[in-house]
Amino acid sequence: MAAIAVFLPLLGSIIAGLMALFTPEDKDRRARFDTLSQWVTCGAMILSAVVAAFVFADVVGGGRPHTVELLTWIDSGALEVSWALKMDTLSAVMLLTVTSVAAVIHVYSVGYMHHDPGIPRFMSYLSLFTFFMLMLVTADNLVQLFFGWEGVGLASYLLIGFWYDRPSANAAAIKAFIVNRIGDFGFALGIFAVFVLFQSIHFDTIFAAAPGKADAVFQVFGGEFHALTVICLLLFVGAMGKSAQLGLHTWLPDAMEGPTPVSALIHAATMVTAGVFMVARLSPLFEFSEIALAVVTIVGASTAIFAATVGCVQNDIKRVIAYSTCSQLGYMFFACGVSAYSAGIFHLMTHAFFKALLFLGAGSVIHAMSDEQDMRRMGGIYKTIPVTYAVMWIGSLALAGIWPFAGFFSKDIILEAAWAAHTGVGSYAFWLGILAAFLTAFYSWRLLLMTFHGAPRADEKVMAHVHESPMVMLIPLLLLAAGALFAGYIGYQWFVGADAPGFWGNAVFVLPEHSALEDAHHVPAWVKFLPLVVAAGGIGLAFILYVLSPNLPGLLAERFRAVYQFLLNKWYFDELYDWLFVRPAFVLGRGFWKSGDGALIDGVGPDGVAAATRNLARRIAGLQTGYLYHYAFAMLIGVAILITWYLWQRGG
């Protein structure tokens, strides 16, 4: 049954892909093709979500985790890998989240993309992405995880570059793929290290063997290190790439070049959370490495605050939300870092709903504003698009963590767990998390106020055309809004509350001494209320700056010009990398080619030898003058030398 849920999207994708390839020229038939491809992919996706719900009920409700073996994949020596679907609580949660969000976004795309000439292709890519994502979350070994991992990277590349006429979209697509590849480089090395240590890359086998290897060391990179620390850090590099953590985050904001449903599905709700999923899935390994957990916590907390600061000054509506995603992923990571994996997954699940909602809401705004994305040219439209306005409020409230919206439950438990960890890195994460919560609330309301309120800043033509989106877009928005409203409240007891042990079963593993999540329920009251207070403060600040005294932001930007520029330019990461890696690669490439291959190897090698041979030949040819006395003279010299040599020999 799980196989049906996983492979239906692939089927839909292949059918839609073939239709994209054979799209007829004729306009009417083309429209029929478009509609048919939408029906096929949406139908397959919805069906898949329904099946996923049954699987979820069976695995979690019925308490029947199992693995479906499909096919042998790689078998070489001790390395044995199968295509298999592992069904436990963790993968069932992901399966349900991914399929349901994907189904909603598929339907939304029908409305959002209706002007686009490439509908079948778009639907095909979306479904293809969903398939890879499902293969990722249901993997029962590291290599299949890697398959899904790279596969979603491919789908993301295709979708970011969907409008391939735009140079910026192509550049962003390549950037996404390559930055992810850098992460995957670490991931791959981690897989090899796991294989060397365990002689297997099968989850169940390595998890069972992990406690026995808790103190193992191995020789790697010229030194001797704690084996599980090395493994976890290498794997975490992969997670950093996919989940856009500090250092490898640069691709995510640029990925907003893709159509908005893509941003919602891939770059907010599902793919970017794969790193968090991976850390949770590998909790039986991470638990045995304090260093790796500390690194996860620090990277997560640093990303949370970094992205939040940048998010406060961006003007592109989608980029604000993109940085917000980056920041929220940081929360999920430091939750895992303090061993509160289930809290991280809980936030992953609620975030999937409210972040998809925010993106699709933003899409609805962009749709209404005739493809305008700059918030400086919006404003004063809340009356014309009331439904969008309402759902954006719900999404923002959930994101800011206001009771009783979904984010409140999941974000609070993370912060409480960080505090309850009572470690240095835990406190670091807690205080940065609090600060980031303040900034989150601030930029969310900055977005709301700039987009919907104040005087209209768009030109009249655009304003006259502002309209609410069609039902096919609004219904998905309302469904996601329901998720953003209730998912936290409903899920709390299961994911992190009293029912958690029964809910999770053996899907995540936490050492008894790592009790942060348990202790999180017994923190002082101020810890529980602080996030809510700072969120309210952030909202208040946004009101002051953007409603009460709208001139103040400009003045502040003038006054603190250096800081503003630093934030606006995203801490200059892109410039740094360009200077450090991109340019040198091209310079080196040209240098190796022209002077290495051309001048040195060919010059000394074949061309040099050929030239030398030609030279020699010319000189020898020059000796052949054709004059008899030249030859006679040469002979005489020869005879003289011979005689001399003979006499010398005799004499000696």
Binding site: T72, E150, G161
Partner: protein
């Protein structure tokens, strides 16, 4: 099947076809048409016959199968001997598959001297298949060198503007290496008194002799692979060769080197192989990083793919010398998948070259608007080239890296950078050729792939996915031979080390 000379049949049937083509007389048009047809049928029948080798192959044994033996020069103990094992099996099939693909790909693009062209290809097929089947040094050498002649002609006669320079460069480079190998073979004969390869594989050469023999063979194989820094013939040869010539060059000829390392260097000179493993690793890592960067800077599509070949073959040499199951199987797999993928990439360049007669990346841009089918095929093989899981390219690279990581983590990490760089130059190429607006006037009427071109790519598309999704079809026949190779290698090493200890 034991007495049916299947291998000889597969080896020499193309030669028979070539002889048949030579007898064709008549109007130039008729001759050309008939030559094409005869070549096509011959190579197809050869391919079907070669499939029987696969179907009847016994996966459980490491011994050479389908053996044939006839006295040739009994006075010198030299015989005509053929046979395949798990290492050579798929190279034979790769050759017999790519030849009909090449014939089909040349159907319209070659219009001059069609008869001679087809003869050259069929002769080359005989040489290549014979090379992989040979179990006698002399037979091996004859085929190994024989390949040079038709390839030299194909580049020199049907090539581009600088074809003569490239053909000579190709010929001299490879010949220089082979001469040393010939000397080494004579030395081996003097020591062992036989040229029989299976016998030589269990013959123990003294370690100090092994060093020289290894180096002589290395000279030949390193040029063929090609390893850095003797790779510079490859970009030139590819650029000037006609499309099908590039396909065979990248698809089969480059594998001679890797195959040679596995058939000769490792089993016959195990001690020297251990001594020189650091050299191989160093040269391979340089090849991977250096040529990937060079590929990034290329402006010529064929040159770019040629450089990428050097980088990918770097994985092969690294994997082979790990002497681990995963490393060697990965190396073989990488050679097979590279044989398919690079062949397909050269064919992909050929498709637009036939239309526009330019290989410059600058000439193109926005092709997806007019050629969606082409864009899809190009995308698939680009992804296979960067080693995306689910394609054949991934399995080889992954296994090689698994093997290397067990032996040396630094080598593994440095080699793996090729995976990042590979993505960079391939995606950059794809973007410049396929994506963007279609603004160039000369591209406005360019047409998508014809049915003939679809037929050329179809088998390759199926294979590259098959190799990625269900590799056991190809890995299972390798196991016994690879494990045997490793066992023999370790046995020989243990003996040498035992002697060294005893002598101390």
């Amino acid at each position: 099947m034991a007495h049916f000379p299947l291998l000889s049949l597969v080896t020499f049937l193309p030669l028979v076809g070539a002889g048949f083509i030579l007898t064709i007389r008549g109007e130039p048009d008729v001759v050309a048409r008939n030559a094409r047809r005869v070549a096509m049928w011959t190579s197809l029948v050869t391919f079907v016959l070669s499939l029987f080798i696969w179907f009847n192959f016994d996966n459980s044994t490491a011994a050479f199968q389908f053996q044939e033996r006839a006295d040739w020069m009994p006075a010198f103990n030299i015989s005509y001997r053929l046979g395949v094992d798990g290492i050579s099996l798929f190279f034979v099939l790769l050759t017999t598959l790519l030849t009909p693909v090449c014939v089909l790909a040349s159907w319209e693009s070659i219009t001059e001297r069609v008869k001679e062209y087809m003869v050259a290809f069929l002769v080359m097929e005989t040489m290549m298949v014979g090379m992989f089947c040979a179990l006698d040094l002399v037979v091996f050498y004859v085929f190994f060198e024989g390949v040079l002649i038709p390839m030299f002609l194909i580049i020199g006669v049907w090539g581009g503007p600088r074809r003569v320079y490239s053909a000579f460069k190709f010929f001299l480079y490879t010949l220089a290496g082979s001469v040393l190998m010939l000397v080494a073979m004579l030395v081996m004969y003097l020591y062992a008194g036989t040229t029989d390869i299976p016998t030589l594989m269990s013959y123990r050469f003294p370690p100090e002799v092994q060093i020289w023999l290894w180096l002589a063979f290395f000279a030949s194989f390193a040029v063929k692979v090609p390893m850095w820094p003797v790779h510079t013939w490859l970009p030139d040869a590819h650029v000037e060769a006609p499309t099908a010539g590039s396909v065979i060059l990248a698809g089969v000829l480059l594998k001679f080197g890797g195959y040679g390392f596995l058939r000769f260097s490792l089993p016959m000179f195990p001690d020297a192989s251990v001594t020189f493993t650091p050299l191989i690793y160093t040269l391979s890592i340089v090849a991977v990083i250096y040529t990937s960067l060079v590929a990034l800077a290329q402006e010529d599509m064929k040159k770019l793919i040629a450089y990428s070949s050097v980088a990918h073959m770097g994985f092969v040499t690294v994997g082979a010398f790990t002497v681990t199951v995963q490393g060697i199987e990965g190396a073989i797999y990488q050679m097979l998948s590279h044989g398919i993928v690079s062949a397909a990439l050269f064919l992909i360049v050929g498709v637009v070259y036939d239309r526009m007669h330019s290989r410059d990346i600058e000439t193109y841009g926005g092709l997806v608007h007019r050629m969606p089918g082409y864009a899809l095929v190009f995308m698939l093989f680009m992804l296979a080239s960067v080693g995306l899981p689910g394609t054949g390219g991934f399995i080889g690279e992954f296994l090689v890296l698994v093997g290397v990581f067990q032996v040396n983590t630094w080598v593994a990490a440095l080699t793996a950078t090729g995976v990042v760089l590979g993505a960079a130059y391939m995606l950059y190429l794809y973007r410049r050729v396929i994506f963007g607006k279609l603004t160039k006037a000369h591209l406005q009427r360019i047409t998508d792939m014809s049915p003939r071109e679809v037929a050329v790519f179809a088998p390759l598309v199926i294979l590259v996915l098959w190799m990625g999704i269900y590799p056991p079809s190809f890995l299972d026949p390798m196991h016994a031979s690879v494990e045997n190779l490793i066992q023999q290698f370790e046995l020989a090493r243990a003996v040498t080390e035992g002697v060294a200890l005893a002598g101390r």
